[in-house]
């Protein structure tokens, strides 16, 4: 069985054709189309199939798509006018938020923050109130809802969020509201907080629901169109959409809760990281993806995709489960400069793609991380990037020289400095997701991808004593590979407030069963029969509020709570540095993930019979210190074969990136084509 993975980015749409028996069949890159993204997806699919041999073009069953449509809308803030309906007295909760100003504006008295996503005139209040237990204290004012429907019609508003107090306890007021609105406006798109995020805390529940309502009018038609065009291209193909949680879903469910698509794009990379982990047998990896403007880090311990419920979009909290990716603004385009206090800094300003680094010759004059790599010889003078950029070392050198004058450093020292400062910033981000959360980075391997990741990965690893760096093959289309090996995943959660202990089994089992039922229903509707369910509880010490999600395996047989409690104490100690054994533990949320298996991921490796030595296709002069240059062997990635071993420093070039291999490294090519660098002679 074969699958197509399509990862749509801002500039390129990447595609892979994958055979679950043999792995990668072909890969392709086409230009993205801002005004016809679905067209680009189909074009990429067509291209990748054409590139495959004729006999390989059969048995293609699924098309899995990672989309940035939600992300783009949130970045450009050019979505539709939407409305919000709240409990009487609470329409301003969305604008008040948590009251605080963000850290970056703490001392900025002039920054007004962003305007509320729903204008106040479009935020409506309705009488009707539940208490904290979900008991109705005041009936829903149905006439008010009907009047609002008329106003929405007059204003031409097509999407509305409904978020009432305590709707996570009882959804009936919200559901009744939806019925009344639909009766008047059958085409109205309605997002209910009791469906999008049935959890306590009215602001976060409302903001997540509002974002859903904001994305829906754009995402839903896109997904409809995509489905139709894929059908037209190949009626045998099923279309799947990657969600923020690292699992895929049908286009229909994706269109209903598009707030789950905000991190659709980057999720594929993390799933690919898990695949690499499975292939190499290294259970703990940290994926780093460095491009032109940012550096994304994700820690994948025990091959588990980490999820968070505290991400932000458009300055609003999004509390649906989202792959826990930490992003910092260090990329190839980050500009080095000296600030008013005389300090040497890299970023946060970026030269972006235009004018880009000085070495691109598009008018950039300030030195960037890419320029430093050019000056140091990592990116060779004259290298052609894409169709129209040729690396100009003289320009990079001049830029570094100008900055160096301010610092009393030579151009080469400046370039070395830019690399050290940016590597330290990236190492800091890796440290934050590992050490900062109680993980020892020395027990992890670093998986590096993105155009610039493999140029910096070894230095980052050395800084944190990470022993191994993995650079996968096809690093340039890796996210698309992640798409084709992903499962269908549906996360469901319910508030469940009780002290952890024996005696809550029956209620908890019922809640788990209900949640699993919802997930099973979705999986079944999607035609997925291979279903499994993972249970977990959000727990904290009684009195705390930041919960830790602790897995709960199988049936709740005697002793279960003691086992879960011990697991919680251990995780609390790992993450926060202490445990309190005699403190009561409270359950706050019950979670079930329904996982549907779509494909096998156990492609067998090429058998390696012995160690082979690849032939270098030349040398590259690398600047290694202010005064020294070393000629290191240069290899072409395309020439490397499973079983090849490189000892010592090297440069490995490919179409889309350059791998920097430091001295005292043993680099092997495994049976899947991954480069495994053992640093500092660690074996």
């Amino acid at each position: 069985m074969k699958r197509i993975g399509i990862d749509a980015g801002g500039t390129f749409t990447d595609a892979v054709l994958w055979d679950e028996e043999t792995g990668l069949v072909s890969s392709a890159k086409v230009s993205s189309r801002a005004h016809d993204p679905a067209g680009a997806v189909v074009a990429a699919a067509r291209r990748v199939v054409e590139l495959a041999a004729a006999e390989q073009r059969v048995g293609i069953r699924d098309l899995v798509h990672g989309t940035t449509i939600g992300t783009n809308l949130s970045l450009e803030r050019n979505g539709p006018r939407i409305a919000l309906i709240t409990t009487e007295g609470f329409r301003d909760v969305l604008e008040i938020g948590r009251l605080t100003r963000p850290a970056h504006a703490l001392y900025d008295l002039l920054d007004p923050g962003s305007a509320p996503l729903v204008a106040r005139r479009d935020r409506f209040e309705v009488g009707g109130r539940l208490d904290g237990d979900g008991v109705e204290v005041e009936p829903l004012d149905e006439a008010a809802v009907a009047e609002i429907a008329e106003v929405l019609r007059r204003r031409g508003i097509t999407s509305v969020a409904v978020s009432y107090l305590y709707s996570y306890r009882d959804a009936r007021h919200e559901q009744r509201t939806a019925e009344i609105l639909s009766a008047v406006l059958p085409e109205l798109q309605i997002s209910l907080s009791s469906e999008v995020l049935p959890q306590v805390r009215e602001f976060e529940r409302t903001s997540t629901t509002v974002l859903n309502a904001y994305l829906k009018p754009v995402c839903a038609p896109y997904l409809d169109e995509l489905e139709a065009r894929v059908e037209e291209f190949d009626s045998e193909l099923r279309t799947w959409i990657m969600q923020s949680n690292g699992g895929v879903t049908s286009t229909r469910l994706a269109a209903e809760t598009p707030v789950n698509l905000l991190l659709s794009g980057p999720s594929g990379g993390v799933v690919a990281g898990r695949l690499i982990s499975q292939q190499t047998g290294i259970p703990n990896t940290i994926t780093v993806d460095m491009g032109g403007t940012s550096f994304d880090v994700c820690l994948v311990a025990e091959q588990q995709i980490p999820l968070t419920t505290t991400s932000m979009s458009m300055d609003l909290p999004v509390q649906v489960p989202t792959v826990d990716i930490e992003t910092i603004g260090t990329g190839g385009g980050s500009i080095a400069h000296v600030d008013s206090g005389g300090q040497f800094l890299v970023g946060p300003a970026s030269a972006g793609a235009r004018p880009g680094p000085a070495a691109y010759g598009r008018g950039g004059t300030q030195p960037t991380v890419t320029d430093a790599n050019v000056v140091l010889g990592i990116l060779a003078d004259g290298t052609l990037l894409g169709d129209d950029v040729r690396i100009d070392r003289a320009a990079a050198l001049a830029a570094c020289e100008t900055l160096g004058r301010e610092l009393g450093l030579s151009a080469v020292e400046t370039a070395l400095g830019i690399r050290r400062i940016s590597n330290a910033a990236m190492a800091g981000a890796v440290r934050a997701v590992s050490v900062g959360r109680g993980h020892d980075p020395r027990r992890f391997a670093l998986s590096a991808f993105g155009g610039a990741g493999p140029m910096h990965a070894a230095d980052i690893a050395l800084e944190l004593a990470i022993p191994t760096v993995i650079v996968p093959p096809v690093a340039g289309v890796l996210s698309a590979v992640g798409l084709v090996v992903s499962d269908v995943v549906h996360n469901h959660a319910a508030s469940f407030m009780a002290p952890l202990g024996d005696g809550i089994e029956s209620a908890l089992a019922q809640t788990f069963a209900e949640l699993a039922g919802k997930a099973a229903e979705e999986l079944t509707a999607e035609g997925v029969s291979a279903q499994s369910f993972v249970q977990a509880l959000d727990l904290h010490y009684s009195g705390q509020n930041s919960a830790i999600t602790v897995p709960v395996s199988g049936a709740l047989t005697p002793g279960w709570s003691a086992e879960v409690a011990e697991r919680f104490h251990r995780m609390h100690e790992q993450v926060n540095g202490f445990r309190v054994d005699d403190e009561q533990i409270d359950v706050v949320v019950a979670r079930v993930s329904g996982v549907g298996t779509l494909t096998r991921t156990d492609v067998p490796p090429v058998e390696i019979t012995g160690e082979t030595t690849p032939v270098a296709d030349g040398t590259r002069d690398l600047v290694v210190s202010a005064t020294e240059t070393a000629a290191v062997p240069r290899y072409q990635r395309a020439d490397l074969r499973p079983g090849d071993v490189i000892r010592g420093a090297a440069i490995v070039d490919s179409d889309n990136t350059t791998v920097v291999v430091p001295p005292r490294t043993v680099t092997r090519v495994d049976g899947f084509g991954n480069l495994l660098m053992q640093l500092e002679g660690r074996a």
Partner: protein, 596 residues
């Protein structure tokens, strides 16, 4: 007592680090504090910490200078950290401190803020040398005294404001000093919650310590110590560069607070700011004498508020540390509201008087650089405390409401945005109702709260709530008499207002300094914080902006006519609302229906 910095040691005069290592370690130090703060927030117990974030983290060098601080920390907690630490070191000499010791204090007369803000500092050793302190200042929801929540604004001295802990060791060489802990837990309400918060403070200090020791092992202790010194130097240079951009001159400004729980007479803060090249002096001479009630601002608070205002004006986007304060001299006469004699009470000065101090400094500088200074913000934390009557160890509701941003040259002030010296957030209404004897009837933006102007001030918050049991209520706010100033012709922000409806229907207007008072179940309170000032002549405000405010209900038709001189007419059937603002000579259709 006087609190002074120790003389620089030889270590500070070592050869400078190369700029690259410095940059790497500077980022590293800030990462360490960010990690520290994350641990405290994750493990805290009280709503005030875990939900509202009323705490701050700092890394201080061995001299007591603050080198790095947590992301989004509360400004009023920070600049006084060095004073709090030096207050500790004056009693517990550095040479007696051993690895594993942890110091604690909350004494406003030994360098602390008000007493609820407990300051914990853990010395960090590397190569057997004391090189730094990890410190967390957090607001303990109760520290004893006559009233739950320890905002006893009828106290005439600090002894009535709760338990005062002078600098002590809470841990001695890794072992908790049980006697000290017992004294604390026997003098506060809900000690279990205090212990939880204290544990999170300690966990945060440990996280920072681990990180710093790690850096010392990697880069060498001397290098790390040198980096801390140079980080301060860099900040000093940045601050000097920024001060040079402000025209030299002497600028005077005065503003008031609305009395205390004993005396409604206005309390004046007078500031004289002298800018001379790259140095700034602020003299508070001419300010009111210290107050009887708790509106006094202890010296640490006065310093924090002053530094906040200067930093906000001069270099709001760069890292904040003691270095940026070196070019600043503060003159705060003893016995005045900005530097009271012990044992004057201080509980409210921390966020009320301090906000006015910041307003005054900015008011001075508005004369020098009017395009960079906003009109006054809400200027008060507007704290509401609610506790059940006669319930031991009850969780105490402590909720901040002061929010509303001053208008400035280019933009309207944002509604409901915290400004100035505080950044404590709110607690979700669903959690307030779950924990406290309240039913929230409404939580919204105050209508007509913002000052008029070419750009409009932000409105504050109005909360309406009903008490479901008999309760003790305390209000610590301001600006119910005076108003946040506008600039360059802009109007002042609207007053704060507090109104209680008793179960029998009787309506009572409460003061912004309502001391702990009993109210019966079924009473309803409407609480509005002040709005913020406007900027520029209201007559110059665009009709489209006025119309947008009308459509959004931020302003009423009456206010539009009164403040902006427009005529408001009804146009039934208009989709965005039937009120239409018109101004002689301006076409209506240019604005009708427009969303700003």
């Amino acid at each position: 007592m006087t609190i002074t910095a120790p003389a620089p040691t030889d270590e500070q005069h070592r050869a400078p680090l190369d700029p690259i290592t410095l940059s790497v370690l500077d980022a590293g130090l800030r990462t360490a504090v960010a990690e520290m703060k994350a641990v405290v927030l994750r493990t805290a117990y009280s709503n005030l910490w875990r939900e509202a974030g009323d705490l701050s983290c700092g890394l201080l060098d061995a001299n007591g200078d603050i080198v790095a601080q947590g992301v989004g920390d509360i400004p009023i907690h920070l600049a006084s950290m060095p004073m709090s630490l030096r207050g500790m070191l004056a009693r517990i000499p550095a040479e007696t401190i051993r690895p594993g010791d942890v110091l604690l204090q909350n004494d406003p007369y030994q360098g602390n803020n008000h007493m609820p803000d407990f300051f914990m500092a853990k010395p960090i050793f590397a190569d057997e040398k004391l090189i730094a302190f990890a410190a967390v200042r957090g607001h303990y929801v109760d520290i004893g005294g006559p009233a739950p929540g320890s905002y006893y604004t009828l106290a005439k001295d600090i002894f009535g404001e709760g338990i005062r802990i002078p600098p002590v060791r809470l841990y001695r060489e890794g072992q908790v000093v049980t006697e000290v802990l017992d004294i604390l837990t026997h003098n506060v309400r809900n000690p279990q919650e205090r212990l939880g918060d204290m544990r999170s403070q300690y966990a945060g200090c440990l996280a920072a310590e681990r990180r710093l020791v790690d850096y010392c092992e990697r880069y060498g202790t001397d290098v790390v110590v040198q980096a801390m010194a140079q980080v301060l130097d860099v900040s000093e240079q940045r601050a000097r560069a920024a001060f040079r951009e402000i025209p030299d001159g002497v600028y005077v400004f005065e503003d008031t607070c609305d009395g205390d729980s004993f005396d409604p007479a206005p309390i004046t803060i007078r500031g004289t700011v002298t800018v001379a090249d790259d140095e700034v002096t602020i003299d508070y001479g001419g300010s009111s004498k210290q107050s009887i009630g708790g509106m006094n601002s202890p010296l640490g608070v006065t310093h924090s508020a002053t530094f906040f205002a200067l930093k906000a004006l001069a270099e709001p986007h760069s890292a904040s540390n003691s270095g940026s304060y070196r070019p600043v001299t503060i003159i705060a006469p003893e016995g005045t509201i900005v530097n009271p004699h012990a044992p004057a009470p201080v509980v409210s000065g921390n966020h009320e008087t301090s906000a006015r101090i910041a307003d005054v400094v900015l008011g001075c500088l508005a004369q020098a650089v009017p395009d960079r200074v906003p009109a006054a913000g809400t200027g008060s934390a507007t704290v509401l405390l609610v506790a059940r009557e006669n319930v031991a160890d009850d969780a105490i509701m402590y909720e901040v409401h002061g929010a509303g941003q001053g208008a400035s040259l280019g933009v309207d002030g944002a509604h409901a945005r915290r400004t100035s010296i505080g950044n404590t957030g709110n607690t979700p209404n669903e959690l307030l109702e779950a924990t406290h004897p309240v039913r929230i009837l409404g939580y919204g933006i105050t209508t007509d709260g913002g000052g008029a102007g070419r750009t409009r001030g932000g409105s504050g918050i109005t909360r309406r709530l009903e008490f479901t049991e008999d309760v003790t209520v305390t209000i610590v706010s301001d600006r119910d008499v005076s108003r946040p100033y506008g600039l360059l012709g802009g109007g002042a922000g609207g007053n704060a207002h507090f109104e209680l409806t008793h179960p029998d229907g009787r309506v009572e207007v409460l003061s912004s300094k309502t001391p702990p008072t009993s109210f019966r179940a079924g009473s309803r309170l409407t609480l509005s914080c002040a709005g913020a000032g406007g900027y520029g002549d209201p007559a110059q405000r665009s009709l489209a902006s006025i119309q947008a405010d009308l459509d959004d209900g931020y302003i009423t038709a009456a206010a539009a006519e009164r403040d902006y001189g427009v005529s408001v007419v009804a146009e039934p059937g208009r989709p965005d609302g039937e009120l239409v603002a018109t101004r002689a000579g301006e076409p209506v259709d240019a604005v009708a229906g427009a969303i700003a």
